[in-house]
Amino acid sequence: MAAHLSYGRVNLNILREAARKELREFLDKCAGSKAIVWDEYLTGPFGLIAQYSLLKEHEVEKMFTLKAGRVPSADVKNIIFFVRPRLELMDIIAENVMSEDKLQPPREFHILFVPRRSLLCEQRLKEQGVLNSFTNIDEYILDLIPYDGDLLSMESESAFRECYLENDQTSLYHTAKGLMTLQALYGTIPQIFGKGECARHVANMMLRMKREFAGSQNQILPVFDTLLLLDRNVDLLTPLATQLTYEGLIDEIYGITNGYVKLPPEKFAQKKPGEGGKDLPTEPKKLQLNSAEELYAEIRDKNFNAVGAALSKKAKIISAAFEERHNAKTVGEIKQFVSQLPHMQAARNSLANHTSIAELIKDITTSEDFFENLTVEQEFMTGVDTDKVNTYIEDSIAQKDPLIKILRLVCMQSVCNNGLKQKVLDHYKREILQTYGYEHLLTLNNLEKVGLLKPQLTTRNNYPTIRKTLKLWMEDANEQNPNDISYVYSGYAPLSVRLTQLLARPGWRSIEEVLKMLPGPHFEERQQLPTGLHKKRQQGENRTTLVFFLGGVTYAEIAALRFLSQMEDGGTEYVIATTKLLNGTSWIKSLMDRPEAQIL
């Protein structure tokens, strides 16, 4: 079921199995039939760990969403709350428990805190007088969720906002804990590199935790050679740019949540002869996207301009495979052909789906608006006129294009110019407030706080230096047969990935100057391995690096890292971990504050 997790360099299925085992153990602790009351936010991430069938095997008969009032009646012995440790949720739970029907046969209550139990929440339950109503209060440590064969995510939407805007480092604590769990399963990671304040903090916590657990040295041969911790705010530019890989564009346009995407149904209607276009499905089409699907694994990381060719090549292969049946003469040959049929049919369906998706995307990428937007982005990234008010942005505001699009562009200009002149900044801000409403003042303030928007304090703009030293812009990006990571943005090489690449070869010492220009400290730590666990590297064996993006990572960055892994002379393979998969839109959205206006 989750076989695709075990194909990668590191078998992430171990992690998933460990998580499933723990879940089963908890469920078995509550004997008898049970109903789960879900904190809605958790259902998505849990879907990556366990399907309903697993819960059903352990006598989960009903599932509800946590809301105020009374838990719907269900003839079960146990009610289990699966919640994040949040005070507001505790109040709802308390209400649920207190309004329990006294006449019905009593049901046992349990709480499972995800990812960690909290004294504060228990205190709140105690204040509400319901703490003793719970038979079990437990925690389900779910920090890093295996997302794909080479990808781990904490699925923590607000991590960036909490860390950089609200100075709440809870998610960093969870990160450190998650990395400890990872090390318990995959061995101590001997080398830790990092860049950024949060990275430093996480590394410090990890080293401290290692000291705390010093007694229980694990004796596992390390799977990862290096851990690289990167703050998102070291590279604010990359997520703002429009991703141009296939997967990246799907995410930009339709949004991928917890591995699923919802698409407009029209293109996917089963065309049956004689029925006409009458009853088009109105429900959006939901598709799961991961490397379990062979074709998707092949094209997801390609530049979108190369996807068409790949699809048509695949189409030829598949139809050729179907043609084979005419060549099958003997019964044995026919039998062999038939045995391959299910696989071929799956491949054909997959091809049909992706052709449809590609068409949908193409409609958008070929639009004039998309092109203009991309042109402006690329101008900014190459440093053209970043110090002036941009007319395209002005026009877009005047046309009242979606606010997030405007914010992405303005922020990008600010980042590429190391801040905007006060006059330019104020102009944009005024335009935005007057067109989209005064309430966005708070959002603008937030963007300034995290550094996405800022007034230029010094006249020196160091972005061009960074761009040149790190070769962030490649003029002749090859989209069809890439030779550099810049293909993922058709020219722009993501800064974060460039840092990763340079760390592996020739090392950060060569770029000390640039590292100093980027925010936060950079550092290197070593963790002592017990004797006998030092890896003896085979000739030509690749190193494995775990890259952890604190505050989120885009699909295009992942694609770039995968590209690096596959490079023949790369010498390093990457596994990616992050707090959340994001794109510019979802990222900016998480930073917005929208007070609900009361009607006067």
Partner: protein, 801 residues
């Protein structure tokens, strides 16, 4: 070697041997006469109370604690009440049960730990007899009072007193009784003359041992085996009945020909024993009774006591300490005279080999031909484990090692582990340590427990040596010992905090997995708060430091430690604690010095306590945030005045924060709000018209380049609308909204909906060319193509006519 079997005595199919463990190191004037004595199982310590009945304050009895080899560990005058019974707990604490029902607990070194009572009702009638027993649930105490009532506590660490039901017809003390553990419950078996009863928590049931000899009229003594599985009864007719403890099965019955009641009786079994056997002791006479008629009889020189163990019985008297046990099968096989068992042959072969005689080869061949060499090695290794003499152990192990050379694929663990175990056992059996454990007992109690025992005796160096030798993982072994050492160290009142803290940190150093917080807790319990704080400094787990620091009221320190740990939940916990402890001013000041805690608390307030949030910003003079706060607040207000007031506050704050842009934008917003209000209040129709025209979701009709939406007449309004599905609902909402101020309402009876397409259809129907032309002239490029076409066709047909 020839003498190995010298102390063997046959009984039935098995042999029994009595081996000396120690010559006792104590110097007792009158031996064990007139003494109350308790020896803990598993070679534990011995407690001795001389002349327990002495009550006069001028001559108090002496309580002494010895190791099993008779080395004094503690000795002090007994100043409390009259002691009925002594006993040891599973963790080597001494229980002294007084006749008033109070139980006092002392540690190995005679320092008082705590006390508890076996119930108030005991006071009057007094404890007549008491027993200490061990079960999987811990150490228990059972007493019987002068009023013939039993009280039982299964676990003294989780004290729950159970008063058992009355025994019918019992007056005064019962003849004999014992505690059983069955079906996860402790029960008492009582004999009153010839009657036998089982007492559990709820009932008293009369029972009959199956096949008890009819001559017996009274049961005078009884004992339960170490495992609670077997029971032995001694009757006044001199019979010993042996059977299962549930009284369902009889194993054997033997006549001893001694009628006076024995002083003590104990089971002498070992795991995989060949037969049930009981040791019975009278004043100067010891008898081992098995299945058959035969018995083994020993003469005793001195007053003795029996200490039952899981694999034998220890006999202690004033000068000696001996172990009586059934000879283990492997030893018997090897050492029995003329034994041809593979082990015996291997031993012989090795002897010959050392003599450089070729007979060694003959013996070896004999074993190998039968294919029993592996078995022979195994026997030798096993037998070595059961021998007390180091020389014998060595001989056997050498033989085993010799045999191993001729075997391929023989797993080495057995041999290696046995060598290690024996080395440890010989070390603890040493006279100075005095823990005479057998190998069987050692395996049962595990190394962990042995280490604990050594730690209780403060034999730290030996414990550490053993841990290192056995390669016990640090956190289970060395670290644990060091922790105990440190806990003991902090109690040494004569040394200064400084010195102790330094010694401890030096000794413990970076030892893995040391819980300094536990040591600190101990120090705090001893009233050494300063020392506790110093020790906590060494604790690597900040999280662990926090609860103790809070308990010691060092909340500031607790806060910084919580922050250090990175665990935000812990920080929240301390913050909430501080909030309740301190006055608001101090609380805020504390937070101010801890930015991490402050921002977490802000987060908390944002969701829970808005007003506190404002105070926090105020305290920090954070005008920007205050401005934002007021902006947010303004959106919650329903009244214009309140909203504008909030915005005004925001303007002030933004000005203070020197954020001119925000101040200006806010002022503009205020002006806009006021203007809108004014328009609304003028009750004029114009604002509505403006609103309709501005509304993006109300779509008018485009003619040429202008969009027409609304026409105002003296008392009518005409709307021109397209995209009716969205336009009409939005229009109605807008009208209703304005209506709330102006009082205007839609007059439904007078309102007309004119359908443009309908009008065209009507004109086509009437074939009126002029009318059609008028409509056509009103058509714009956005008008439905089909309709225009129809109109054109109708026009041309009308013209023809």
């Amino acid at each position: 070697m020839a003498f190995v079997t010298a102390n063997w005595n046959p009984l039935g199919e098995a042999f029994y041997r009595k081996t000396e463990l120690y010559e006792m190191g104590w110097n007792l004037k009158d031996g064990l006469r007139d003494c109350l004595l308790a020896a803990a199982p598993y070679g534990g310590p011995i407690a001795l109370l001389k002349e327990p009945q002495r009550r006069s304050p001028s001559s108090r009895p002496q309580l002494e604690i010895y190791s099993a080899s008779g080395v004094t560990m503690a000795s002090f005058l007994w100043k409390s009440g009259v002691v009925r019974q002594l006993g040891w707990t599973v963790c080597d604490d001494l229980l002294c049960i007084q006749e008033d029902g109070t139980v006092l607990i002392y540690d190995l070194f005679g320092s008082f730990k705590r006390h508890f009572s076996m119930g108030n009702e005991v006071g009057q009638s007094q404890v007549v007899e008491a027993k200490v027993f061990h079960s999987p649930y811990g150490t228990g105490v059972a007493i019987v009072t002068g009023a013939s009532r039993f009280t039982l506590a299964t676990n003294i660490d989780d004290l729950k007193l159970r008063r058992l039901p009355e025994v019918p017809g019992l007056q005064g003390a019962p003849t004999c009784w014992a505690v059983l553990t069955q079906d996860r419950q402790s029960k008492v078996l009582v004999a009153n003359g010839g009657d036998l009863f089982i007492l559990d928590y709820t009932a008293c049931t009369a029972v009959n041992p199956p096949g008890l000899s009819p001559q017996a009229s009274s049961i005078v003594h009884m004992c339960v085996s170490f495992s609670y599985k077997y029971l032995a009864l001694f009757t006044d007719s001199g019979h010993v009945w042996m059977g299962s403890a549930n009284l369902k099965e009889k194993l054997s019955e033997v006549e001893t020909k001694v009628r006076n009641p024995p002083k003590q009786m104990a089971w002498c079994r070992r795991p995989k024993s060949r037969q049930p056997s009981v040791v019975i002791m009278w004043d100067r006479h010891l008898l081992v009774v098995g299945e058959g008629k035969d018995t083994i009889s020993y003469h005793l020189e001195d007053d003795s006591i029996l200490v039952p163990e899981m694999d034998g019985v220890r006999i202690i008297n004033g000068t000696n300490h001996e172990l009586l046990q059934e000879v283990p099968a492997s030893c018997e096989e090897i050492f029995k005279i003329a034994s041809m068992a593979p082990g015996a042959l291997l031993l012989e072969a090795h002897k010959e080999y050392e003599k450089e005689s070729q007979k060694a080869d003959e013996y070896l061949r004999e074993i190998k031909e039968q294919g029993l060499l592996a078995e022979a090695v195994r026997q030798c290794v096993e037998a070595a484990g059961h021998e007390q003499e180091a020389e014998t152990q060595k001989t056997l192990l050498r033989a085993a090692s010799f045999g191993k050379c001729f075997l391929s694929n023989f797993p080495p663990e057995l041999f290696v582990i046995m060598c290690r175990d024996l080395r440890v056992l010989n070390a603890v059996r040493d006279y100075t340590v005095g823990i005479p454990l057998t190998h069987t007992q050692f395996k049962q109690m595990t190394v962990q427990v042995l280490i604990d025992r050594l730690v209780y005796r403060k034999l730290y160096p030996l414990a550490i040596e053993i841990c290192r030798y056995l390669k016990t993982p640090e956190y289970q072994g060395v670290s644990r010992v060091l922790k105990h050492w440190a806990c003991c160290k902090v109690q040494q009142k004569e040394e200064s905090d400084e010195v102790i803290a330094r010694t401890i940190s030096l000794k413990l150093g970076e030892a893995a997995g040391i819980s300094y917080s536990e040591i600190a807790t101990k120090a705090y319990e001893c009233g050494r708060t300063e020392l506790a704080i110093k020790l906590l400094e060494f604790e690597p787990r900040s999280g662990e430091q926090v609860p103790l620091l809070l308990k010691m009221k060092r909340s500031q320190l607790a806060l910084s430690k919580a922050i250090e740990s990175g665990d935000t939940d812990l920080v929240y916990t301390v913050v909430t604690y501080l909030k309740n402890e301190m006055n608001r001013g101090d609380f805020f000041m504390t937070l101010r010095n801890q930015p991490v805690a402050l921002s977490l608390y802000r987060q908390f307030c944002k969701h829970q306590e808005q007003d506190t949030l404002k105070d926090l910003f105020n305290q920090d003079d954070d005008h920007q945030e205050l401005g934002n706060f007021y902006v947010k607040a303004s959106y919650k207000e329903k009244r214009l005045e309140a909203r504008v007031a909030h915005l005004q506050s925001a303007v002030d704050e933004y000005n203070k924060a020197k954020n001119e842009f925000a101040a200006k934008a806010t002022e503009e917003e205020m002006r806009l709000l006021r203007f809108q209000k004014k328009l609304e209040e003028e009750k004029a129709i114009e604002p509505l018209a403006i609103a309709v025209r501005m509304h993006t979701e109300i779509q008018g009709i485009t003619i040429g380049v202008t969009e027409h939406c609304i026409s105002l007449f003296a008392d009518d309004i005409i709307f021109f609308l397209s995209k009716l599905k969205t336009s009409i609902p939005n229009l109605i909402t807008l009208i209703e909204k304005f209506g709330r101020f102006s009082g205007y309402k839609i007059n439904n009876s007078k309102s007309v909906l004119i359908d443009m397409e309908g009008a065209a259809d009507a004109a086509i129907e009437r074939r009126n060319e002029g009318e059609i032309s008028t409509i056509l002239s009103r058509c714009s490029p956005t008008t439905d193509r089909a309709l225009v076409e129809r109109l054109n066709r109708a026009k041309s047909t009308a013209a023809k006519k």
